[in-house]
């Protein structure tokens, strides 16, 4: 009897052709690449976590306009900067509601104390939330906020004042970053009183366009549109993240209608996707740069002509073909073209091995042996560092330079590559945090960063003066001029060989409307709709 029942069930199951596009038209399914680490964006640094938290659930005082690196008002309607650049005063938007969910009902609207709490928990060791969930506040620390921010005060219910230790023009862009998301102080305190402060990270309450509903690790995250959203309700009612780590499987799901958006299609699948009538392939240059950093303090790489000659020996097109397979564009500046102040007038070092060899000979460099460090990991700015190093090895051999390729475990690689007396040139790259040129030029090439993120160990005063000046100037047009000049000096001095900016692909089913690629690599679903 039992067998008979099972048999009937089996027939019934096998008889069901799998229902593909069975979702309600107001539900958008995103095939995401992994599980978020948690839902408090200030605790983490991964884009996957930001997609599931800050991008949907939270807001910041200021935010980047969707699909751009342009910063605009969000929870703050306006802000003032004092003449000396040391005090930032924000006027908050009135009537902003925190989410009402099955697990929390707020009793008040957003006010200045929420903003103060959101930063003080990261800044002050005595704040009761400073150590909750093993808080290390990596982004807050990484952006030098502990040194920069002297105080955060509530002037009145809807006014917040930040006092800084030094003028810092990128401050506004920093406040648009995920770690600067505003959490509810009322909810945090209620959880603290209940003895479950970690709930702030597990059952989030924000002001954003979507409310958190449920999460099953490695399986699914469910969100619901926030009916009371200050920017107007989202066009989709339900948002589902179907966690799909394998991108080939993700493509099959996209084709089967099991998801609408695939975040990270395989480069190998792009051609097939472009031929698929049900799928649109969107592309944009990524906010990143891949480079080869010489150690400019060690001979013969302390000689600018040697560096220029080596740059001219690199066949970037061969690298784009062999390593990026169509998903990269040659880089000539240390910042990507999607960032304001990108200097398109800069002329790249032309590929010319004959001239390169002659230049090396003119500098008395013969039988040069050098190391090229190849990263052991895949990064958007360098999908295959070993292959890239091999192409460079061939290129350098043509100009009489013998290359030994070395690699280390990723943690060791990052540490050893910062050493001042490091031997060899390092393949590395950078993905922008906040769309500000300072985030590339000062972080990677400033004198302060020598012995740390400045892997070229390059401290060039004329360049550094320009970027330090640009840090304290509030006017963007003036900053643009300074950064454009800095890029010219960079090219002349050649501390790096700039290699490539990756091209980012996103695939969406063609019923998805108004999806925009986020230059920061995030996935934002507010403003997206589904065709009826």
């Amino acid at each position: 009897m039992v067998l008979k029942k099972l048999g009937v069930l089996g027939v019934a199951v096998m008889g069901l052709a799998y229902g593909s596009s069975a979702f309600a038209q107001d539900t958008l399914v995103y095939c995401s690449e992994g599980s978020p680490e948690g839902f408090d964006p200030a605790l983490y640094t991964a884009g996957t976590t930001f997609d599931a938290s800050s991008k949907q659930i939270y807001n910041r005082l200021v935010e980047f306009e969707r699909g751009t690196t342009v910063i605009g008002p969000a929870l703050a309607e306006s802000f003032d900067v004092s003449e000396d650049g040391l005090v930032y005063t924000f006027k908050l938007r009135p009537g902003v509601k925190f989410h009402t969910t099955a697990y929390f009902t707020p009793t008040r609207d957003l006010n200045a104390s929420d903003v103060v709490f959101s930063f003080e928990r990261q800044r002050l060791a005595e704040n009761p939330y400073n150590q909750v969930s093993g808080g290390t506040w990596e982004y807050f620390n990484g952006m030098s906020m502990p040194d920069l921010v002297v105080s955060v005060e509530a002037v009145d219910d809807l006014t917040v004042r930040f006092s800084l230790s030094r003028p810092e023009a990128p401050m506004i862009a920093n406040l648009g970053m995920d770690f600067a998301s505003i959490v509810s102080e009322e909810y945090a305190m209620a959880m603290l009183e209940a003895g479950t402060p970690e709930k702030l990270n597990q059952e989030p309450i924000g002001t954003g366009p979507f409310k958190f509903v449920a999460y099953q690790k490695d399986a699914v995250i469910r969100f619901q549109a926030n009916e009371e959203y200050w920017g107007g309700k989202a066009e989709i009612d339900n948002l589902i993240f179907a966690i799909t780590p394998d991108n080939s499987v993700g493509y099959q799901k996209l084709k089967a209608g099991e998801c609408h958006v695939l975040g990270y299609p395989n480069p190998a699948d792009i051609a097939a996707m472009q031929d698929d009538a049900d799928v649109d392939v969107l592309e944009q240059e990524g906010l990143n740069v891949g480079y080869l950093a010489y150690n400019t303090t060690v001979a013969p790489f302390d000689n600018v002509n040697v560096r220029k000659a080596l740059n001219m020996a690199i066949d970037k097109q061969a690298i784009l073909d062999a390593v990026f397979q169509g998903s990269g564009k040659a880089a000539k500046n240390p910042i990507p073209p999607t960032i304001w102040s990108y200097n398109d007038a800069v002329v790249d070092d032309a590929y010319d091995p004959v001239k390169a060899r002659a230049m090396l000979e003119a500098e008395g460099v013969e039988n040069l042996k050098m190391q090229i460090w190849a990263m052991p990991v895949v990064r958007p700015y360098n999908p295959n560092a070993r292959r890239m190093a091999e192409v460079m090895q061939e290129d350098f051999a043509k100009v009489g330079v013998e290359v030994e390729i070395v690699s280390y475990d990723w943690g060791e690689y990052l540490k050893l590559s910062t050493e001042l007396d490091r031997e060899g040139a390092v393949l590395l790259g950078w993905t922008g945090d906040n769309g500000d040129p300072d985030n590339f030029l000062a972080v990677l090439l400033g004198c302060d960063a020598v012995g740390n993120a400045n892997r070229a160990q390059w401290c060039h005063e004329p360049f550094d003066d320009l970027i330090q000046q640009a840090k304290v100037v509030a006017d963007q047009a003036e900053r643009t001029q300074l950064y454009e000049q800095a890029q010219v000096i960079f090219k002349e001095q050649a501390p790096w060989a700039t290699i490539a900016h990756s091209v980012v692909y996103k695939t969406v089913r063609n019923e998805v409307q108004n999806f925009k690629i986020d230059p920061f690599g995030g996935h934002i679903f507010y403003g997206v709709s589904l065709a009826k």
Partner: protein, 334 residues
């Protein structure tokens, strides 16, 4: 029998301590510093590095760290995941039912098909059914799981549309997952179609994960059956005029099953290894995928806790197999 079980349990404690040391050292012996990985390309000042080393307790002697770990285990505390900052115990048991459900289905699938296939091959030794079944088993055993899974997905999900591509249940269904076993939870939810959807989602992962154990079981059954079929008592049974079904199914199979049960027990380790790839491809939220992510991010606490729990599970299953073996073959108990 009780003495036999107690003796087996006695070997459990030293094995457990050994496993705890190996799991503790394994991730620490891998090159790569989790604090440096946390900083990424940006780098980190020496002061900040020292601060984080102290915060996570990595600056203490290894022996002290191990002692804390061991006493934590005895209190049922495996520590906080370095990556997610959540208790490892909670993370493991939130995901374990998914792996267990898939592994059970895979082993049932392997046994239900593998044993009859082995019998048919043995009874038809040297004839075409034997050659066909054993060749298929060899292919199944040699097949890379990753490739096999993608092939099935492209054929049955992509081209034919018969099965879902991945996941444990259609995203249309939303209900509390109290037990963590989707077949049970979907059945209890009472939502129309939920149970069928859970079954549909199990089909391809079960086939993929069950393929290698199926091949092993089929081959083991065949060789055990061939050995038993040449025994005198089988010839006597045949001479008595018993039907081939009674001879093969009762007299021969019963004795041939002893090594097969051992193989099934040992398959638990294979299933755990296979689960890592199967879970990744089918977006199956189990511990295999969780462990892989933990290793790549040097999540010390998650990896050491996960390894220990998996080892304990394998040990328990082997203990059960040993006891079962003792029941079937009284000579083992001596």
């Amino acid at each position: 029998m009780l003495g036999f079980i107690l003796r087996r349990l006695g070997t459990f404690i030293p094995t457990f301590i050994g496993v705890s040391i190996v799991s503790f050292l394994f991730i620490r012996l891998l090159p790569g510093d989790p604090i440096l990985l946390m900083a990424g390309e940006r780098g980190m000042s020496d002061a900040r590095y020292a601060e984080l080393m102290t915060q996570f307790g990595f600056d203490r002697p290894l022996l002290v760290q191990y002692w804390d770990y061991l006493t934590g285990i005895l209190r049922g505390d495996l520590g906080l995941s370095f990556k997610t900052k959540l208790p490892v115990w909670d993370e493991f048991f939130a995901l374990f039912p998914a792996t267990l459900e898939l592994s059970l289905c895979a082993i049932v699938f392997a046994v239900l098909i593998g044993i009859p296939a082995g019998i048919v091959a043995a009874v038809n030794r040297g004839k075409w059914p034997d050659q066909a079944l054993m060749s298929t088993a060899l292919v199944g055993f040699s097949m890379p799981i990753f490739w096999w899974a993608l092939l099935l997905i492209i054929l049955f999900s992509g081209m034919l549309g018969w099965t879902p591509v991945s996941g444990r249940i259609s995203l249309m269904f939303f209900f509390p997952t109290d037990t963590g076993f989707m077949l049970i939870d979907s059945f209890r939810s009472g939502q129309a179609g939920a149970f069928a959807s859970a079954v549909e989602h199990l089909i391809l992962p079960t086939i993929v994960l069950g393929t290698i154990p199926l091949a092993v079981i089929a081959r083991q059954t065949r060789s055990a059956m061939l050995e038993v079929l040449s025994e005198d008592y089988v010839r006597t049974a045949r001479a008595k005029g018993l039907s081939p079904f009674r001879v093969n199914g009762l007299h021969a199979l019963r004795n041939a099953l002893i090594p097969v049960i051992t193989v099934i027990g040992l398959s638990v380790g294979t299933l755990m290894a296979g689960a890592i790839l199967t879970e990744t491809i089918f977006s199956w939220p189990g511990i295999g995928k969780w462990m892989v992510e933990g290793i790549s991010s040097r999540d010390y606490t998650a990896v050491q806790g996960g390894l220990l729990m998996i080892a304990v599970i394998v040990m328990v299953v082997n203990l059960i197999v040993d006891v079962l073996y003792g029941f079937i073959n009284p000579k083992i108990r001596q």
